[in-house]
Symmetry: C2
Subunit: 320 residues, 2 copies
């Protein structure tokens, strides 16, 4: 028995997560799901988007399947997702970008950088401290190098020509790569963003700091059909959360048009994480066959609904 | 008589700037050019890449035509370009992206944000302060709104869902847009990066903070054939510097293969700045006709050399 916490969240999270969950249940009947409510909907109802108790619930699961949350319009509010990443110390945000001629994994540091939370306002300016710590850099470098070792090579995205805080990051990553025997290059994040778009075949594993990874992965989504396709894992030493890279997309929510591929692929990453790469492969291949058969949601130019796409994957999983 | 300072700099700066300069000289025989040496070459020769005297020289010109500089491999070194932007208070970095179905201008704040220079290292971490000031935001917002008023609309690129420092930036930009009667939207920088790639027609003027503008403009270069095509202006209240967005590209330097379009277009922006939009249009149209005739450098799939491309534009300018 494996306990998986399920957070639908808001907007299209409520549509894509049930699809992904059904597929998980089909390949792994031994998973015991339990629902956890966080996000805007809960905030509207109770004045609170996520409590310490919620975090404890999430922490009790072997893995978390997460949808997306809308940010409440409250200036004092801190993003639920940031709160969870922080509380569960999910330091590696892993974002595979796969498609025609593209097989890249972005490993984004997920706890510090510009997301330090160290901020203040003065009468005439507002400041945020970008923090690059030795420990934070070492553990993300180690994660990325372990991954790169089983793949091809590593690129360290940085802006060390401007930010001294990135000199530390680059030094630690290149040292860790040398130790691990991983071939390693460094690249300035602006140039990297363009070169990844122009020559995705030049890249394999990319490690970078928090907000650079945030932007780079969205840009890279262009290569594979947009955000509807990108899954992600938020990994810590003791917990792991799997979520589509896309947000709650209130503009298209409730219309059965959201692309569930990102959520389904996140579920596949969850399967690998709980030690079942075989089931993960079954799910990935099922998604590939359904897309290959031309069944697609509107964002990819198709006419399939979220549920219909999910049902098609479920059928393929049954055959797989 | 108009005084224009010319900085070739390093690498391909030494190849593309002479081309752009010849074209400027052809359309405006009254320009008096004077050379200023800065960059890596000078640093190797003299141990110094740029002095206060250099800055004063640059400051004496009506406008500066700039190539690109290589960053010396010295940890204590601060980028020459940052030094010049700072010393001449060139607060608006204006980057037009034009091509098939794309007509966007990125207005990048050019003096603060993560480029504050406020940095320190502790034994176990390195920090950089991201500074968003009221004055800095107001003047860039005003610049962007003035531009947007003569065009269509404004998008404010930000990450206010994470950075409190961006709440200030967004507030100031939207207030300034309201005052100027400019239609204005806000967009998170990660989503903006992707949406600009997928739907460039949705965008017109985009204003954003320093490093976000740096990354966004490189990503946007993908839409128009890469960095070889993108010019930029660095504008202050009293000085202005025009440079290609690309760097010194030591890997391809000295082989007569660099694309001079970005430098030529930067020269066209310089012409507009000194009050001669008619000559700027002549140069822009000449570039368009040469590209249209299939004369292209290798980065665009052609076989023309830097000098040959320049000569072709010069001929067209003569006809224009
Ligand atoms: C919603 C936001 C706080 C989040 C982030 O910036 O990390 C999102 O963009 C992401 O990429 O997961
Ligand atoms: C060379 C570097 C300091 C510079 C910057 O980051 O501004 C460059 O990338 C640019 O875009 O002009």
């Amino acid at each position: 028995m494996v306990k998986v916490a399920v957070v639908e969240g808001d907007g299209i999270g409520r549509e894509v997560v049930p699809v992904a969950r059904d597929i998980l249940a089909a390949v792994r009947p031994d998973i015991e799901f339990f629902d956890v409510e966080v996000g805007y909907g809960r905030w509207e109802r109770t004045g609170c988007a996520c409590t310490d108790e919620t975090i404890a619930d999430l922490g009790s699961a072997a893995a978390i399947l997460f949808g997306a949350v809308t940010t409440p319009p409250d200036p004092g509010y801190r993003s639920v997702m940031l709160q969870i990443r922080h509380a569960l110390d999910l330091y590696a945000n892993v974002r595979p970008i796969r498609g025609e001629g593209v097989d890249v994994v972005i490993v984004r540091e997920n706890t510090e950088g510009l997301y330090s939370g160290i901020e203040w306002t003065e009468p005439d300016r507002a400041c945020t401290v970008r923090v690059v710590s030795r420990r934070g850099s070492e553990r993300i470098a180690r994660y990325a190098c372990t991954l790169a070792k089983s793949r091809r090579h590593l690129t360290v995205g940085n802006k060390a020509n401007v930010l001294k805080s990135d000199c530390l990051f680059v030094d630690i990553c290149t040292a860790e790569a040398a130790r691990a025997g991983v071939s390693c290059r460094t690249s300035y994040i602006d140039a990297l963003c363009l070169d990844l778009l122009m020559h995705p075949d030049r890249y394999d594993v990319i490690v970078t700091t928090n907000i650079f990874g945030d932007i780079l992965s969205d840009a890279a989504a262009y290569l594979v059909g947009g955000l509807g396709m990108l899954p992600s894992a938020n990994i810590g030493d003791r917990h792991a959360l799997f979520e589509p890279v896309h947000g709650s997309a209130p503009d298209i929510a409730g219309r059965n048009v959201a692309n569930p591929v990102a959520a389904i692929r996140s579920a596949a990453m969850l399967l690998t994480h709980i030690g079942d790469p075989a089931s993960a492969a079954v799910v990935e291949e099922a998604v590939g066959r359904v897309l290959g058969a031309g069944i697609r949601t509107p964002d990819l130019g198709g006419a399939a609904g979220t549920r219909e796409f999910g049902a098609a994957v479920l059928r393929e999983v049954g055959r797989g």
